[in-house]
């Protein structure tokens, strides 16, 4: 596919469980971003990867959140010990490099029971 792919599209889990969200960026895009969109809210920046540089984690809301990007391509966002306030749509975006507009995936809707 030509676009950013995220999986799963929907995830329902119990409070306290760990979840992993996956993002496949557009091939060749060096920059990758994770955002969170809570109900009625705008987009909240979480983390940013650019090439081989250390990621910018300044937007992660707590130490329960972490992300990695293996081989400069696929990224995984992990939320440990999920809480109900983690319920949101998690969006991934990629861009050719940090100077180009971002292309977004369809998001993963996470629901914590």
């Amino acid at each position: 596919g030509a676009g950013v792919s995220q999986s799963p599209s929907n995830k329902v889990t119990e409070k306290g469980k760990d979840v992993e969200l996956r993002c496949d960026p557009i091939s060749g895009h060096t920059a990758l971003y994770w955002y969170r969109q809570s109900l009625g809210q705008g987009l909240e920046f979480l983390i940013y990867f650019q090439g081989n540089s250390a990621p910018d984690k300044s937007g992660l809301p707590s130490d329960r959140f972490s992300a990695e990007r293996t081989g400069g391509s696929v990224s995984t966002l992990t939320i440990q010990r999920t809480q109900q306030e983690d319920s949101a749509v998690y969006l991934c975006a990629s861009s050719l490099d940090s100077g180009q507009p971002q292309h977004f995936g369809d998001g993963t809707r996470l629901s914590i029971l």
Partner: protein, 113 residues
Amino acid sequence: AQSVTQPDIHITVSEGASLELRCNYSYGATPYLFWYVQSPGQGLQLLLKYFSGDTLVQGIKGFEAEFKRSQSSFNLRKPSVHWSDAAEYFCAVGLTLGNDMRFGAGTRLTVKP
């Protein structure tokens, strides 16, 4: 502090009517400006962007936006709205096109038949 404001949470217009969605920003310098659209259950799609030059920019789907430095605004317009334009619209602003891009809270557009 840097901020992006979309004053209208929800707007309803009749099909065929004109549309203007407001976006104001507060940054120390002229930022890069974007409008994204998010259809239900979809990711975000870039409508248009302003980097420099002509302050009236044309985008996809018949949308345009005008950058007004004196008002720190970047309002989105469309002369005649179609039912398929019903979606959530996000204004985004950044200084470096990288990880500092921030989004407004969004404006939900409803189109009446």
